[in-house]
């Protein structure tokens, strides 16, 4: 019994190496990229159409569709983002006030060495 790779593995490698190389060439080809682009566009179109039809069906029964929930989530996310921006602005204002009160030693902007400071 040899300690090298088993026969099945040698057979697998003999097939996989050339096949892998061919598939890799295909995946990197312009045609594949174009086909994938077309597929994603078609998928997105089908998804939109399906969503439109199911939404109409649910709305007929005066019920919310998945897209309504998604829309609400997006609106909540937009509010969350606005809150984040307000919080950041408040923090920056606090920091500026702190810097003015405590002098340059405590100020993040002025108290630390910068990239432009010559190094020893």
């Amino acid at each position: 019994m040899s300690d090298g790779p088993p026969t099945w593995r040698r057979a697998f490698d003999a097939v996989e190496k050339p096949l892998g190389s061919v598939l890799q060439d295909v995946a990197h080809s312009e045609r594949f990229a174009e086909a994938l682009g077309l597929t994603t566009r078609v998928q997105a179109g089908v998804r939109r159409e399906l969503e439109r039809r199911t939404r109409r069906m649910w709305h007929m029964w005066n019920l919310p569709a998945g897209s309504d929930v998604a829309q609400l989530r997006r609106q909540v996310a937009a509010l969350d983002r606005e809150l984040r921006q307000v919080r950041r602005a408040l923090e920056q204002a606090d920091r500026r006030r702190e810097g003015e009160r405590d002098g340059p030693a405590r100020s993040r902007q002025t108290g630390r060495r910068s990239q432009r400071t010559p190094r020893s």
Binding site: D13, H28, A33, A44, A77, R112, Q115, R116
Partner: protein, 355 residues
């Protein structure tokens, strides 16, 4: 080896094959990942800043690692004995990691500016507050490298002592599959966004799979061959688990990356704008190290190597290593060659630990 020894070995291996096979199929007894103790020292939105615990005095200034936005950062602390973080701690570094968490619909409108101008500066401030240091060493991995480059270029006054990027793409003119897919008229970001407005993790995973179409088959064959080897099986479970554990990519950031980096080749063409400002890598003046993996199939060498030429630092260096994308930080070659070399560069930019 005589016949009896061979029979004994084969019986033993078959028993282990059966045991490991059951473990793999049932998904039980998975290796524990990211075991290095750490504290969350700052958190905002989905982002967390981790400080790894270490005994004894640490080198100064501290090291802040910024990881990629499309995969999980625990690969840098994969498992005990195979952890980049462990090596850094053993070398006496004070290590912090900026982890992006899992983006959801609240992050769909996050742009590069959010990461480069808000989260990274806030994390840097927190590291400095935590350690009392005046500056820090910054290290970015893969897309984290892109973020750190953009941060250093957009904030020339940032308190950085050095910048290191690893497996970081900067020249997108020949970015292989990724470049080909997003050329004008092919895959548009908006057609692949999920209901949250992010590029779904599955799309990220499938795109990586396309880079090596038979990669999974090859891995299964190697696993089947070595399923008797407990250590190999544990390593496979850890690494394969990570490789399939991608996170969604914020939609607005994806659009910006495609337009500015992949289509516009912004770093090379000098055409990057953040928050309305023109950003050039030539603005970076801190000592810089670019670590390139020569066998990297995700970030091919030609996309990573121009970084040194683009960065304005006087003191800059390039380290080319015979490794794959993750082989820079995971595995035996990493432990023997890559990590010690990176540690050497960083150690030269830190002061010895003081008791």
């Amino acid at each position: 080896m005589d016949l009896l020894d061979r029979v004994r070995r084969d019986v033993d291996r078959n028993a282990r094959r059966a045991r490991n096979g059951v473990k793999l199929v049932a998904g039980i007894d998975r290796p524990k990942l990211a075991q290095t103790p750490k504290d969350v020292v700052w958190a905002r939105d989905r982002v967390e800043l981790w400080h790894y615990r270490a005994d004894g005095p640490r080198r100064s200034p501290p090291l802040l690692i910024v990881f990629s936005l499309v995969s999980r950062s625990y690969v840098l602390d994969l498992r005990p004995g195979n952890s980049f973080i462990e090596h850094l701690l053993s070398a006496g570094f004070d290590v912090f990691m900026l982890d992006w968490g899992t983006p959801d619909e609240r992050d769909a409108d996050n742009t590069l500016e959010d990461y480069v101008d808000v989260y990274i500066p806030a994390a840097i401030d927190r590291v400095l507050d935590e350690t009392g240091a005046e500056e820090l060493n910054l290290l970015g991995y893969c897309f984290g490298g892109v973020l750190t480059l953009l941060h250093a270029a957009h904030h020339p006054d940032a308190p950085l002592r050095s910048l290191t990027t690893m497996a970081t793409p900067v020249d997108y003119s020949d970015f292989g599959l990724f470049g080909g897919l997003v050329q004008e008229g092919r895959v548009e970001v908006d057609t692949i966004l999920d209901e949250n407005g992010n590029v779904p993790a599955s799309a990220v995973r499938e795109t990586f799979r396309l880079l090596r179409p038979t990669g999974d088959l090859q891995q299964y064959a190697t696993l089947l061959e070595k399923v008797w080897d407990d250590e190999y099986v544990r390593a496979y479970q850890a690494m394969n688990g990570w490789a399939n554990d991608h996170i969604p990519f914020p939609g607005a950031c994806a659009r910006q990356c495609v337009d500015m980096l992949l289509r516009g080749n912004g770093f090379v063409e000098g055409d990057i704008r953040l928050g309305g400002d023109a950003v050039s890598l030539g603005e970076i003046e801190v000592p810089y190290l670019n670590v390139i993996a020569e066998r990297d199939h995700i970030v091919p060498i030609q996309t990573a190597e121009p970084a040194v030429g683009l960065v304005g630092s006087e003191e800059k260096d390039e380290l080319r290593l015979q490794a794959g994308h993750m082989g820079l930080v995971v595995g035996r070659t990493a432990a023997k060659v890559t990590i010690p070399t990176i540690i050497e560069f960083l150690a030269a930019r830190t002061e010895e630990a003081v008791a």
